[in-house]
């Protein structure tokens, strides 16, 4: 009898077409692998179901790094943003962070078009229900809800918040994914059968309000930067100087908080209806009122969702309160007195994994060939998802192609910090990137993401020859100019001293190098042009890099030293097949942790809570044998 089910053969299956899935699928297809991208609905490709912005503190860094590695997110937002700002401009360059308001529909549409026009990539709207393994327990393919089998060499799970999703506000609790999209109900069972440990996390989103019912005159208008700086190193800055859309700032007040407090017993969070673990950094407004009861007001940003819609996103007031409470509380906010809600705020619960089950290439330790990325790994945020998707996609491809895997350590990028934290540390809430998580952040700046990672993107094959050549030119210009600035002596001439005094700087008594002048707090590379007759004409990005490298040299050198120390342990690899039961004199706690996490290097082992220096010495001695 002929087979009644469909059987297909591809190289890579990507499950889910959110920000992780899109990057993963694009990476694989661009590397020439036949890739199928499964989605619950083609309408939800690259959907932004929560806030309408991309970037922000540390997240902007991730987007730049994605770009340097050859990912898509930066370019996509450069084409579809409504407003853009560089945050923390008054601080040091390491914490400058780009954030853009997105036109949600335009972003989705553009990403979808990019997928559609990508060679080797097909989109398929169907629910994946099962992981199929071979007799050795390695991945063989996936099964879909129709029973069809897709054989593949690698599968990447990017299910976001869709697995067994449930959306809740007040008494309403419906089994749907975000924006009432259909949830995926079967894959969890299959994963559990394969011995994968699942967590249940929760997140939430505020209401969307009809902009026609908002009185913006009671709010503070916030405009974008002029000029706009693009995310992608490839975007011509001239193309992003668009007519920007404003954001509005308003505040909650005692009245808002009183309504919430009076109705706390009706919140599903406090009644026990919601069981998932939520994030501490992005609490619902009722959570804020309880946890920060001394605060009489919280910021509320009213943000556009797109050029072609009146819907406004009420940032800072996510909630799962019943409908009547939501309507009343939003209307206490200045400017929202007559607000009409389009979409209710809700909390969403979903299944995800304990990411300690992944290797440092995001492959499941238990199921070779199966990878995962994004919110499914216990993170939160579009940027965190996209970064992981790209990383998992590249590494799945590298394995299939028999090439060396991509590795990014904590000293090379925020992506490295993100990966290492996820696979090393106990994570009990949706993980958000933060600048304080990056210990070498003076080196991990958004301005030098290409200098840090583009080489890797090129070696992987996602950065074109042409782009790479341009990059090398930029790099050599920076190096040459830094060298020149360090060597150039500026004499204590009357002319120089007059110029210095004019710039509010102390005159010279003996000659100094130009670099020393740049390091003065009141001066910089640009301001020293006056004393520098032979200064070559250089592009803005090269000048910026030279300025930072010279001006903050002392700090950068110290961090570079720390990194050298860090790398020593990071490069001491632990064999994948090590049997910790054979390592003598390890303490029990350390042995358990090492067996669970199976760190790939001594450095990673040192970051595991419960593994102390004595354990590491024991391990080192064992490895030296």
């Amino acid at each position: 009898m002929a087979s009644v089910i469909l059987e297909e053969n591809v190289d890579v299956v990507v499950v889910g077409a959110g920000h992780a899935g899109c990057e993963a699928a694009l990476a694989c297809a661009r590397l020439g692998l036949e890739t199928v991208l499964f989605t619950m609905s083609v309408e939800s490709i690259a959907m932004m179901p929560c806030n309408p912005h991309i970037g922000g503190s540390s997240k902007g860094h991730l987007v730049r790094e994605i770009d340097a590695l050859g990912g898509e997110m930066a370019s996509c937002i450069d084409h579809t943003f409504l407003q853009s700002r560089m945050l923390n401009r008054s601080k040091g360059p390491a914490v400058h962070s780009l954030r853009a308001q997105a036109d949600k529909a335009a972003y989705s549409a553009r990403m979808r078009r990019t997928l559609e026009t990508q060679e080797h990539l097909q989109i398929r709207m169907q629910e994946v229900t099962e992981i199929v393994t071979d007799s050795a327990g390695a991945l063989a393919g996936v099964r879909t809800i129709s029973g069809s089998i897709w054989r593949c060499k690698a599968a990447i799970l990017c299910t976001g918040t869709y697995l067994n999703a449930r959306c809740i506000y007040g008494e309403v609790s419906v089994p749907t994914g975000p924006n009432a999209m259909q949830a995926a109900g079967h894959l969890t069972d299959s994963l559990l059968k394969h011995g994968i440990e699942m967590y249940r996390f929760k997140t939430g989103t505020p209401a969307r309000i009809d902009g026609k019912t908002i009185d913006y005159s009671k709010m503070t208008r916030q405009d974008g930067d002029v000029p706009v700086v693009p995310f992608s190193f490839e975007t011509d800055p001239a193309t992003v100087q668009i007519d920007q859309v404003p954001v509005y700032l308003t505040h909650t007040n005692e009245e808002t908080h009183a309504i919430l407090r009076d109705n706390l017993d009706r919140s599903p969070l406090y009644s026990g209806k919601i069981t998932g673990t939520g994030p501490r950094y992005c609490p619902s407004i009722e959570d804020k009122v309880v946890r920060f009861s001394e605060k009489t007001s919280h910021q509320v940003f009213v943000e556009p969702q797109g050029r072609d819609t009146d819907e406004m996103y009420i940032d800072g007031m996510s909630s799962s309160m019943p409908e009547d409470v939501q309507v009343r509380m939003y209307r206490t906010v200045p400017g929202l007195e007559h607000a009409r809600i389009v979409r209710m705020a809700y909390a969403i619960e979903y299944d995800c994994i304990n990411a300690l089950q992944l290797t440092d290439t995001f492959e499941f330790k238990k199921i070779p060939g199966l990878y995962s990325a994004g919110q499914f790994n216990g993170s939160s945020g579009y940027e965190e998802a996209a970064a992981q998707g790209l990383y998992a996609g590249i590494n799945a491809a590298m394995k299939i192609l028999g090439r060396e895997s991509l590795r990014i350590d904590r000293s090379e990028g925020y992506i490295g910090v993100l990966i290492d934290d996820l696979i090393t540390k106990e994570n009990h809430e949706p993980y958000r990137m933060m600048t304080s998580r990056a210990e070498y952040r003076l080196l991990l700046r958004q301005d030098n993401a290409d200098l840090r990672l583009l080489e890797k993107g090129y070696r992987v094959g996602l950065v074109s020859e042409e782009r790479y050549r341009r990059f090398q030119k930029k790099k050599s210009r920076i190096e040459a100019e830094i060298k020149r600035v360090r060597e150039l002596n500026i004499g204590a001439s009357r002319q120089v001293n007059q110029a210095l005094e004019q710039a509010g700087s102390t005159p010279l008594s003996t000659s100094v190098t130009l670099a020393e002048l740049i390091r003065r707090p009141e001066l910089d590379y640009k301001k020293t042009q006056l004393f520098d007759k032979e200064r070559p004409e250089l592009p803005e990005d090269v000048q910026e890099e030279v300025n930072i490298e010279i001006k903050y040299e002392g700090y950068i050198q110290r961090q570079t030293k720390q990194v050298q120390q860090f790398r020593k342990t990071e490069h001491m690899r632990i064999p994948a097949d090590i049997d910790y039961d054979l390592v003598p004199s390890l303490r029990n706690e350390a042995r358990q942790k090492l067996k669970e996490i199976r760190p790939s290097s001594i450095g990673q082992a040192s970051r595991i809570m419960g593994v102390n220096p004595a354990d590491l010495s024991v391990l080192l001695i064992y490895l030296k044998r």
């Binding site: 503190s57 540390s58 952040r441 700090y555 120390q565 040192s606």
Partner: protein, 502 residues
């Protein structure tokens, strides 16, 4: 985060147990070992450089401290890699001046970089021409052996045996260092860390959420607080300087009921002609402690208020402290008045002795003996049965000696017993204690250095994202003193204190 050191840096420690002869060895190992020794060593002619010495040679000379004063007359052996224990350049300084000199020499080695900066010291030039700063840090327990193994000098079976030992010692060192930092020092460091973390959290939260939070308005108050932190740490370092040599020794507590002769014993010990007496106001201990050096032995003697039940609150606190210091003691000296019958007070004291090494002095042998060794032993046995420490071997832990504080009878025997305990390893007092303390001090210095960098950044008007990194280093270094890792402290602090926005 855990701390790992790699064989690129140079380490030093007292590497022999203190011997009766007073000769001990300071071992320095690592690439800067010879250069470091050159900075503090001078031959009688003043011309010889260890850097020029052939390998495996011994040189006679003197060790100088950073103020240029002679510490000890020494023999220095220079051994170049790889034919050394650690397979690294190694220098061993053989000291003759007893334990105090050994500690001072180790101190000089660990601070040899200060000689590099000071023009007052004649031999500085020797180190300078090598270029770069020479730094030696205190070795961790077992680190020489670890290096020997990692450099392929010893085989695994030997290394494993040593590792077992290290683990045991680590446990001891840990217990010991916890003992040292209980009380005021612990509180000071814990509070200091909490204050630092609060500021870091504010800075980091504002960097992550700049539209909602701003650290800038706090800069002035922060600057002031930073000054206080630095002063606190400087004070701690100063106390460690005054007290570090003195504060290490056998923690000895004299117990006995009132009028048993505690003060007479103390005076006798203090009156010993080679004794050096230092008074340390209780920075780490709440009771007044006398430091007594006797023929190469250092005793840290705490006199208790006398153990007896009391209703007076103030006195009760004193008694509680006494009991606490007994729990932390290495050795108890129990003075029993042999001229009167044992009473309830003696019974209570006996119960405190369970599980402790103690020397029991049957005092007042010059008077008619009413109480003898038998009575004391039976009292101890009774105390044991009442308590839970029934399997303690009192024969091994407790020595009983006849004594007369007034006439000095039994004094020689007491010294003999003390030395026996001290030099034959029966008391857990060894070089690990020195290392632990040197480490604490080094960590304090490191945290101060980090805070100085914060000040520099403030003076240069750098924004807070620069100096918060140095604040974190200070926080980490202080944490290591009290054995606390950083982990998720910062993220937790941010989330608990700040309501993060967009």
């Amino acid at each position: 985060m855990s701390e790992l050191h790699f064989p690129q840096d140079t380490i030093a420690a007292i590497s022999t147990a203190v011997s009766e002869s007073g000769i001990g060895i300071i071992r320095i190992s690592g690439p800067d070992a010879i250069a470091a020794a050159d900075l503090i060593f001078r031959s009688p002619g003043g011309k010889k450089r260890l850097a020029d010495a052939a390998t495996h040679t011994i040189h006679y000379g003197f060790i100088y401290d950073r103020k240029g004063a002679v510490i000890d007359e020494v023999l220095v052996s220079v051994m170049r890699a790889p034919r050394t224990y650690t397979a690294e350049d190694t220098v061993e300084i053989h000291c003759h001046g007893g334990i105090l000199a050994m500690k001072a020499v180790l101190d000089a080695v660990l601070h040899c970089d200060m000689c590099q900066d000071s023009d007052a010291v004649f031999h500085c030039e020797k180190g300078r021409d090598k270029g770069g700063k020479i730094h030696v840090r205190a070795a961790q327990p077992g680190e020489f052996t670890k290096r020997a193994f990692l450099n392929g000098r010893i085989d695994l079976s030997r290394a494993e045996a040593v590792m077992d030992l290290i683990e045991a010692k680590n446990e001891f060192a840990l217990k010991n260092s916890v003992g040292q930092i209980r009380g005021n020092l612990y509180r000071i460091i814990r509070d200091l860390r909490a204050r630092i973390l609060e500021r870091i959290a504010h800075i980091e939260a504002s960097l992550d959420d700049p539209e909602n939070l701003d650290f800038t308005p706090q800069i002035d108050s922060f600057r002031k607080e930073l000054g206080e932190w630095k002063e606190d740490i400087r004070h701690l370092i100063r106390t460690s300087e005054d007290g570090r040599l003195a504060a290490e020794g056998i923690r000895t507590v004299i117990v006995g009921k009132p009028n048993a002769g505690k003060s007479s014993l103390l005076n006798l010990l203090l009156g010993e002609e080679r004794a050096i007496v230092t008074e340390i106001a209780g920075t780490t201990r709440d009771l007044l402690t006398e430091t007594i050096h006797l023929q190469g032995i250092t005793l840290l003697v705490t006199d208790t208020a006398g153990i007896r039940e009391t209703r007076d609150l103030v006195e009760r606190i004193g008694v509680e402290r006494a009991k606490q210091s007994i729990r932390e003691a290495d050795l108890l000296l129990w003075i029993v008045d042999s001229s009167v019958e044992l009473d309830e007070n003696d019974r209570r004291i006996a119960s405190l002795l369970a599980g402790h090494r103690a020397i029991i002095l049957l005092n007042k042998t010059d008077l008619e003996a009413v109480t003898g060794e038998e009575e004391v032993r039976s009292l101890l046995r009774a105390a044991d049965e009442a308590g839970s420490a029934a399997d303690d071997d009192h024969g091994g832990l407790h020595s009983i000696l006849p004594f007369s504080a007034r006439e000095g009878t039994g004094y020689e025997e007491l010294i003999r017993v003390l030395k026996d305990l001290f030099f034959h390893g029966k008391l857990s007092w060894n070089d690990e204690v020195v290392i632990t303390n040197a480490r604490h001090r080094e960590l304090l210095e490191r945290s101060l250095e980090s805070l100085e960098r914060v000040s520099d950044s403030l003076n240069q008007e750098m924004s807070e994202d620069f100096f918060s990194i140095d604040l974190m280093s200070a926080y980490e270094a202080l944490g290591r003193i009290i054995g606390e890792e950083v982990g998720e402290d910062l993220v937790n602090e941010i989330f608990s204190r700040f309501c993060m926005g967009k």
